[in-house]
């Protein structure tokens, strides 16, 4: 462990000075403790490519803001290194980092007009008056607030304030922009509109963005890659698709999307499959992802939409088949959200498409359900 770390650092030292696209911004084994007792961030590693949109996603208190603050320079790492374009920036004060930042409460200066807010980063960089004016106007146009330059922030709606905050973080053309739950205070419609807006700006400008949220839908729709945080470490860093389709551990499987869980013990491994005996006695064939060897406890993870109701006895397309009792049916138009009791788990959810033959599901009824072992992932306990 320590040696690989050393190796990594050496690699990095070699690259110092000439950044490459894959090493635009890096956290290298960063740790952070506020009180000297508890590590809030334990060994955080992240390597961000130029122009990438990376999201830190995790439950409340998992250390997302802390990591962002360390990148921005408002908190110092207790251990580890943060690099920007190949240079360590641990000791660089925030105003010299040139990183744009959007705060959760926007932090627009209330005593300045919108235009003055946008001009602030340009004035401190001593741009000429004309240049400043031009850039402010362009930034306002980018967020479609051309006519609002003279207003005070308090005279804007939440969504407009959000746009101003975004424009202010971008107006001085930083290469990296950090956003800490920028849409947290907006209602659902506005949030979706702003997600689209941010994505558009990201694509237009090609800036690198690190985005913090605890809304998984937001993370899934916006990001190139998502780092799922829990307990101060990254549980999985992957594209949205990979996170959903191939979670590497039980936390990620539960945190992203809906998920059925079954608990048991590995009895046999066959290639990339394994045989698991559930606590309720049944045997399930699953894909061995993060399960231990024979005898190890494991959590089976199964997406509701990958479970089907088997109508014909002879249907052999699933290598796992069980009899289940329907507990509850919720009609959702295109599908029926059905809760069943199977393998001792009566919180088991499946989504039955509203196709011919399925519409007759009633609570109390017994049905055969089945799933493919490739959709059933055996993860850590």
């Amino acid at each position: 462990m320590n040696e690989s770390l050393l190796q990594e650092r050496n690699d990095n030292a070699r690259e110092a000075g000439h950044e490459t696209d894959t090493h635009f911004a890096r956290f290298i084994n960063v740790q952070k403790s506020y009180d000297g007792v508890e590590l809030v961030v334990k060994g955080f590693n992240l390597d961000i490519r130029r122009g990438e949109f990376v999201t830190l996603l995790g439950p409340s208190g998992s250390g997302k803001t802390t990591c962002l603050m360390m990148m921005a320079g408002f908190e110092t790492p207790t251990h580890g290194q943060i690099l920007l374009k190949g240079d360590p920036i641990n000791d660089l004060p925030p105003h010299k980092r040139g990183i744009g930042m959007v705060f959760q409460n926007y932090a627009l200066f209330p005593h300045m007009s919108v235009a003055e807010n946008l001009a602030f980063p340009l004035e401190v960089r001593r741009l000429s008056k004309a240049e400043t004016k031009r850039k402010v106007e362009r930034a306002l146009a980018m967020v479609r607030l051309e006519d609002f330059g003279d207003r005070r922030p308090a005279q804007l709606s939440g969504g407009q304030q959000q746009r101003v905050a975004l424009a202010r973080a971008l107006v001085f053309e930083p290469e990296l922009v950090l956003m800490d739950e920028p849409l947290g205070a907006l209602d659902k419609n506005l949030r979706e509109e702003m997600q689209y807006e941010i994505k558009r700006i990201h694509a237009d400008l090609g800036v690198t963005m690190i985005y913090v949220t605890h809304d998984q839908t937001e993370a899934l729709t916006m990001s190139d890659r998502i780092a799922v945080f829990n307990d101060g470490i990254v549980q999985q860093l992957a594209s949205p698709e990979a996170l959903y389709e191939a979670p590497e551990n039980a936390f990620v499987a539960n945190f992203i999307g809906e998920n059925n869980r079954l608990y048991g013990e590995v009895t046999e491994t066959i290639g990339d499959r394994c045989q698991v005996r559930l606590d309720s006695g049944e045997t399930v064939l699953a894909k061995a992802v993060a399960a231990g060897g024979v005898g190890a406890r494991t959590t089976l993870s199964l997406r509701p939409e990958r479970v089907s109701i088997v109508s014909q006895e002879s249907d052999e397309s699933f290598d796992n088949r069980f009899r289940a009792e329907v507990k509850e049916v919720i009609y959702l138009g295109d599908h029926l959200r059905t809760r069943v009791n199977v393998c001792g788990n009566d919180e088991f959810i499946l989504k039955a498409p509203n196709a011919k033959g399925y519409a007759s599901l009633r609570p109390g009824q017994s049905v055969d359900i089945g799933w493919s072992s490739s959709d059933c992932r055996a993860l850590d306990a």
């Binding site: 921005a72 320079g73 408002f74 004060p93 925030p94 105003h95 980092r97 040139g98 990183i99 744009g100 930042m101 705060f103 959760q104 409460n105 932090a107 627009l108 200066f109 209330p110 005593h111 602030f120 980063p121 401190v124 960089r125 202010r168 973080a169 001085f172």
Partner: protein
């Protein structure tokens, strides 16, 4: 559902809605009024009445018009060019006789003496010899005291016969009326008040500035320290409120006097020579040091209450946008604390110009405030009219400051917590 506007709304039993609403809220209104009535009564007796009384006294001028009523009547129509005729002198004799019998000539003689020195002794001497005075009174009175032969005396009596006067206000700003009715400055050696007013104002301004200089960082610390430490600091800030003002002031005497702690330490350290001990008390320095200390909490608390509402993310935003620490402070944080500065400033300044006990104890001769002169006129010279006039001017200045402040910043910004 819709009701024509001409038909008044009624409740179910036909009583107009407004009437029944009024009835319903009357009880709670009466209750609320009863709850505050002791306070209103107290404020009326202890605050409003004394101020009205003071304003009244500053212009009230009853002495001449009541105690020399006959003389004043006889003087009606006198043109002031030559000494009045015999009837006026006769009336004066009668007035003085009555006054002596009633033993209230003292008030009259002091009142006239404020305007023209020598009047007290003139009246007293004349009154003593009244019994023996025979007509013609004009010659007799002038014989007793030359003052009665001066035109000025009679002009003064005629002028001061009005029930109200501005002469106390004139005296309060070192002015007086000449016999011809012009406003002129008093002779230089009698000028005291204007200088004292200015001293009070500039020293109060210095004290306000010092409390700001000392208080701003403390208030900032209070908002930025972790709760545990900031609570301790807050207790230290409030500690002075829990000790007597007198104790705090006298402690400064113990520290600052020439044989005091500070001088002793500096002599012991060799910073100053034993013969050259610093005079830090009973002068302006003493007043400024002690008052700055005493008024500091009144600057810190309003500042703190404003700073507390400024989220730390503003400064962070400014820094992340490229602002150097000081520039970010100047452009972002400082402007947001201006309401607090104004609130603390106005509070300290107003308290300071009205402060009495500390300048009296540690100010010596040169560090006194105008308030000490109000006390002097009330307790020693017994010229209450003048004391009232000075106090009214102070009140007026405070009101003006208050109104300017309210116009620029808003009184609701003054919060102490």
């Amino acid at each position: 559902m819709s009701q024509s506007p001409s038909v008044p709304l009624t409740t179910a039993d036909g009583v107009p809605l407004k009437t029944s609403l009024r009835r319903a809220v009357r009880r709670s209104k009466v209750k609320a009024f009863l709850l505050v009535s002791p306070l209103l009564l107290f404020l009326g007796i202890a605050f409003v009445m004394p101020i009205v009384e003071m304003l009244w006294r500053s212009v009230d001028n009853p002495e001449v018009s009541t105690q020399l009523s006959r003389t004043v009547t006889a003087l009606e129509g006198w043109n002031g060019d030559a000494l009045p005729d015999e009837p006026v002198f006769a009336a004066l004799v009668e007035d003085l006789r009555e006054g002596q019998a009633a033993r209230n000539l003292g008030l009259l003689s002091s009142r006239l003496n404020y305007e023209k020195s020598g009047m007290r002794s003139a009246i007293n001497r004349t009154a003593r010899q009244l019994r023996a005075v025979e007509p013609p009174f004009r010659e007799a009175l002038i014989e007793i005291n030359d003052t009665w032969g001066e035109l000025e005396t009679w002009r003064l009596i005629q002028r001061e016969a009005t029930p109200y006067t501005l002469s106390y206000y004139l005296a309060a700003v070192d002015r007086q009326l000449t016999p011809m009715g012009e406003i002129v400055q008093v002779p230089d050696h009698l000028k005291v008040h204007v200088g004292l007013f200015w001293r009070t104002f500039w020293m109060s301004a210095v004290i306000t500035g010092l409390t700001l200089l000392l208080g701003y960082p403390i208030a900032f610390l209070l908002t930025s320290l972790p709760l545990r430490h900031s609570n301790l600091l807050m207790i230290l800030v409030l500690l002075p409120f829990w000790t007597s003002l007198l104790v705090r002031t006298t402690t400064w005497i113990a520290i600052l006097q020439s044989q005091g702690v500070l001088n002793d330490v500096m002599v012991a350290l060799g910073v100053i020579a034993d013969e050259a001990r610093w005079q830090m008390i009973h002068n302006k320095a003493g007043t400024i040091i002690a008052m700055t200390h005493i008024l500091l909490p009144f600057m810190i608390l309003p500042l703190y209450s404003v700073m507390k509402t400024i989220p730390p993310s503003y400064m962070r935003a400014a820094r992340s946008l490229g602002g150097k620490p000081f520039l970010s402070f100047r452009r972002v944080y400082f402007p947001l604390t201006i309401p607090g500065i104004a609130a603390g400033g106005i509070l300290v300044f107003i308290l300071s110009i009205g402060y009495y006990i500390t300048p009296a104890l540690v100010g010596g001769q040169s560090g006194r405030f105008i308030t000490n002169y109000i006390a002097y006129h009330m307790q020693t010279s017994l010229n209450w009219g003048l004391a009232a006039a000075i106090a009214s001017i102070l009140l007026f200045v405070v009101i003006v400051f208050y109104m300017v402040f309210n116009r620029l910043i808003g009184v609701d910004k003054v919060k102490l917590g």
